[in-house]
Amino acid sequence: MEEIGNLFAGFATVLQPYNIMVMVIGITLGVVIGVLPGLGGANGVAILLPLTFSMPPTSAIIMLTCIYWGALFGGAITSILFNIPGEPWSVATTFDGHPMARKGQAGEALTAAFTSSFVGALFAVIMITLLAPLVAKFALRFGPAEKFAVYFLAFCSFVGLSKEPPTKTIAAMMIGFALAAVGLDQVTGQLRLTFGFTELLTGFDFLIAVIGLFGIGEILLTMEEGLSFRGAAAKMNAKVVFQTWREMLQYWGLMLRSCIIGCWMGITPAGATPASFMSYGIAKRMSKRGDNFGKGEMEGVIAPETAAHAAGTSALLPMLALGVPGSPTAAVLLGGLLIWGLQPGPMLFVEQKEFVWGLIASMYIGNLVGLIIVLTCVPLLAAMLRVPFSIIAPVILVICAIGAYTVHNSIFDVVLMLVFGVIGYLLKKTNYPLAPLVLAIVLGDKAEEAFRQALLASQGSVGVFWSNGLVSSIMALGLIAAFWPIIQAGYNRLFSRPATA
């Protein structure tokens, strides 16, 4: 029950006028970032991260997580009104959201999407409140071998769960690890992989990689597609909102199911996108009006949005409790924690109670504030989307350049950002996933450190990763996750054979 007291102390922190102001600014910026093409949650947070160095950490993380919530909300606007999914997990929202908007029900579709997002996020936050302290307490027993096993599990989940070919996921991930290794070796103090270039002494900063890969890369992709916005108009007023809410009450079972799918998929990393598709697919199969899915059915908006946001929010649980982020944006937030001198992981719950509970409390209030802001600002945001890309593109390029420069006040970083941008475009076009690459850059040093410490303790024997029940079961889970597609195929063959024989 100590946690409830901590949570209320957290609410007291969040409700300070300064933090409320930071929250509103964060959500507004986040929605704008989510709506504009070429700016997504991950690189939006990366660009603004250096500006928060002067703030107290709690306010800074509130601002950055609120940008994240805002970007999640903003993604639904572009999906429904313009049929352009801002983020991969909004793809399923376009299936029914855009047809609804075409039928003149844009207001209903948006209200349903925002409200489902809110419900999904709220469910996940409640789960974080209840589970995170327990997971953290459990993880306090972890030694280097167990820590490495957790990283192993996270990266294996990417290999098994992503829709890209496994060897491409592995290649992308290992590029990230290699980039993280460049520069000064933290254990021996020796230089490695710098090949005599002084610019590489400090290694590759993940913020530069994120701004280049996601920011510049995205602009290049948008440019190639030659976006012509053919948006639907949105009429939003209080009557539409309340009517939709009343209609949504009958779908409580659907929402609950989507919440559970989302949370489950969010904690096992790489989950938000599969969560939204899975939830949509199950809703289609179980709904009485399943045949109408894809033609503008409200259930088809509620299911993916609820699951995606439950997943997006619960991705923060492993980040806080274990130090392993579940999404690229969570990885950038984790990088921010490291820069502020906070070590994410179980010790955070012991040493930085005020920070952790302030953050958790801000998730409750931030999502509520976000819901209010997006419901009232839709016409304004839709108007912003009509600004032609030939104006938005150079402005975003300038913002990315400023963001990259401010990380270390170095022009070399701006050059690097551009290089990452072109690489990001090529990798994305050839189906290499970018999320594991970024995650590996962020976690590379820590994973390597855990790996080497574990090996040091065991005098170099790899058996240390199978030395006790705890570490072996995490490693086994990792292997199951990595080979999941093969296991699933084998399972199906095994159980369908008697039927066909």
Partner: protein
């Protein structure tokens, strides 16, 4: 999304680009292996040497890209990576941005940004000079006040700022 506008154009094959990217990653992996070996991949006085971990990372990169190259070769040569007209659009962002980045050390970020936005709007957007002036002067000005005054983050400056004594 704009199917009615796409006349069947030509362009580089997806296969060639995938092979190119695969080879690039292979070379990258080989460089990582080489660099790790020269940093030492064995055991030293304080446990694994600096190159120990990246060595295996590099080996996995090389192995994975061999697989990727093999599957890239199976792609039908008729699949297009993108049409030339689309790639021209992409280059119309990359080239100005490269010039922009190269110009920042000489002109400062503000003047370079002004030129980038103005050029972009003029050549790609074909806007009138009035709106071009408003956006291309407004954005750097806004950035100046936001960063130098509000966040107290100095951005690179050039001769114009020296002249104005900022």
């Amino acid at each position: 999304m704009s199917h009615e506008a796409s006349e069947q154009g030509s362009g580089p094959a997806q296969r060639s680009v995938e092979v190119g990217v695969g080879l690039g990653i292979l070379v990258f992996g080989a460089i990582v292996v080489w660099g790790s070996v020269s940093a030492g991949i064995g055991w030293g006085a304080e446990g694994p040497k600096a190159g120990f971990f990246p060595f295996y990372v590099g080996v996995v990169i090389v192995a994975a890209s061999l697989f990727n190259l093999a599957s890239a070769l199976k792609i039908a040569p008729s699949v297009l990576f993108a049409e030339w007209s689309q790639l021209r659009q992409v280059l119309s962002v990359i080239i100005p941005t490269t010039v922009y980045v190269a110009a920042i050390p000489w002109l400062g970020l503000y003047v370079a940004s002004f030129l980038l936005i103005a050029g972009f709007m003029r050549w790609l957007g074909k806007y009138g000079w009035g709106i071009i002036a408003a956006v291309s002067i407004g954005v750097p000005l806004l950035a100046y006040f936001a960063f130098e005054k509000w966040f107290l983050v100095p951005l690179p400056k050039g001769p114009l700022e020296d002249l104005l004594g900022l």
